[in-house]
Amino acid sequence: MEYQFDFGPVLARWPELVQGTLLTIWLTLAATAIGLPIAAVLAATRTYGPKPLRWLVGAYVELIRNTPFLIQLYFVFFAMPGLGIRLTANQAAILAMVVNLVAYAVEIVRAGLEAIPRGQIEAGRALGMRPIRILRHIVLGQALRIVYPSLASQFVLQLLGSSLVSAIAAEELTAVANNIMIVTFRNFEVFGVVTGIYLVLSLAFRGLLGGVHQRAFRWEG
């Protein structure tokens, strides 16, 4: 093979790689922190709410899950200014990621809610508990325990999916990789290093979230 590997020029730009990695983590955490509570509320609405609201949440879920994330991203960044809403690249990235994550998380949480036997809810009602208390004390904890592994997977998918936001000039890890590539032309080395970083990030978060799962849900099973 004629290609001479040289990781030097790529590794010399480590401060940019670290910055990009931190932004990738930050975008994912922010989108998840904002998105999960919204998803929980919308999932409860879609399962127990009045018919028109159920339909509305369903429409939102179908709209987002059946269109490409890149288009949603472009919509937020390039189309919303037409309505006078102008966000920075990072804000637009987080908003698009929240909108996307919520749609998937609603379906995941809903699966958990529907897995709770009706008998438990009826038992709560028989004890005179109000619907909100039934949701909080009986349903939600169990539902979260059931769907936690799926939510953790969705988090990692979100982390990897964030690589798309370089398209609207958010300087996360993939954007940094492209910046380094066009200066050094060390394509194999750049994408080799960045692949490694994504892999380590994913495995680390899977491990971390798995640990949390064992601790937080020890109370049963």
């Binding site: 390039f78 200014p81 037409g82 102008r86 690249a89 000039a169 492209n178 032309f185 394509n187």
Partner: protein
């Protein structure tokens, strides 16, 4: 009668014969032997490269690429690339030549070889007419965009470094950068004067104008290093196209201006 086994043997022999050629320097006659010339173009940069209404590539670079194929006597296979993808396309041997508003720079010439220029165009700063921008200093406090890896990115990166306070956004392709400009996400952008034509043709495009020249550029045909025979042939072809008026005709057809001075190096 040819049995499948015999065709397989023939194929194997052909592959064995082809192998040593691939490792050697590429001469024009190797391309002729291969039966096609693979040329990288960018179809997002009118008037140099774009897709016409029937989704066929068209533009000044595209027609020049077709002339290269015609002179070699082989069909042209187009591979579309973006600005950051041009050098990788050559280095990974996906293409034989790059004809894609490929500005000649010393940095790039460390990686690939350039032919003599076949055209030229300044890289400029574009901004709304109402905004007073006379030089780099006036960009402080503004949001400025460029296409990642393009020549304006290289010039603007330097300007941003020397003038703290500029918010700099890099987009992956020209259309995204132009969209950011049109939607008001950035206040100014780097581009060729083709960028201006681009903006002018859009809905609210009349309000943009060229503010100052970032760098005068010349476009060359790019190829892998170590192919002196191919480089010389391409230069010879460009010499003839310049002298018989073909380059000037292409320039008038697509850019509505003469080809201008093309200093060889």
């Amino acid at each position: 009668m040819t049995s499948p086994r015999r065709s397989l043997l023939a194929l194997g022999a052909a592959l064995l014969l082809a192998l040593p050629v691939a490792a050697q320097a590429q001469a024009p006659e190797d391309i002729v032997k291969a039966g096609k010339v693979v040329i990288a173009i960018d179809t997002t940069v009118p008037p140099y490269g774009s897709l016409d209404t029937s989704m066929q590539p068209t533009g000044m670079d595209v027609e020049l690429a077709q002339l290269v194929g015609k002179s070699l006597g082989v069909p042209v296979e187009f591979v579309t690339v973006t600005s950051p993808g041009r050098i990788p396309a050559l280095l990974t041997k996906r293409v034989d030549l790059v004809i894609s508003i490929f500005s000649i720079t010393a940095e790039r010439a460390l990686q690939v070889d350039f032919s003599n220029p076949y055209g030229g165009q300044s890289t400029v700063l574009l901004a709304p007419k109402g905004r007073k921008i006379a030089g780099p200093k006036d960009l402080v406090g503004l949001k400025v965009g460029a296409t990642r890896g393009a020549i304006e990115d290289i010039v603007l990166t330097e300007i941003v470094k020397n003038n703290p306070g500029i918010t700099y956004l890099r987009f992956d392709d020209g259309p995204s950068c132009a969209q950011a400009m049109l939607s008001g996400q950035i206040d100014a952008m780097g581009g060729g004067d083709y960028g201006e034509i681009y903006l002018r043709k859009s809905a609210s495009g009349d309000e943009f104008e060229q503010k100052f020249v970032l760098r005068p550029n010349y476009f060359g045909i790019g190829m892998r290093k170590g192919n002196p025979s191919l480089l010389h042939w391409v230069n010879t072809l460009l010499f003839t196209l310049k002298n018989d008026g073909t380059l000037d005709r292409l320039s008038m057809k697509y850019r509505n201006k003469p080809i201008g001075d093309l200093p060889p190096f």
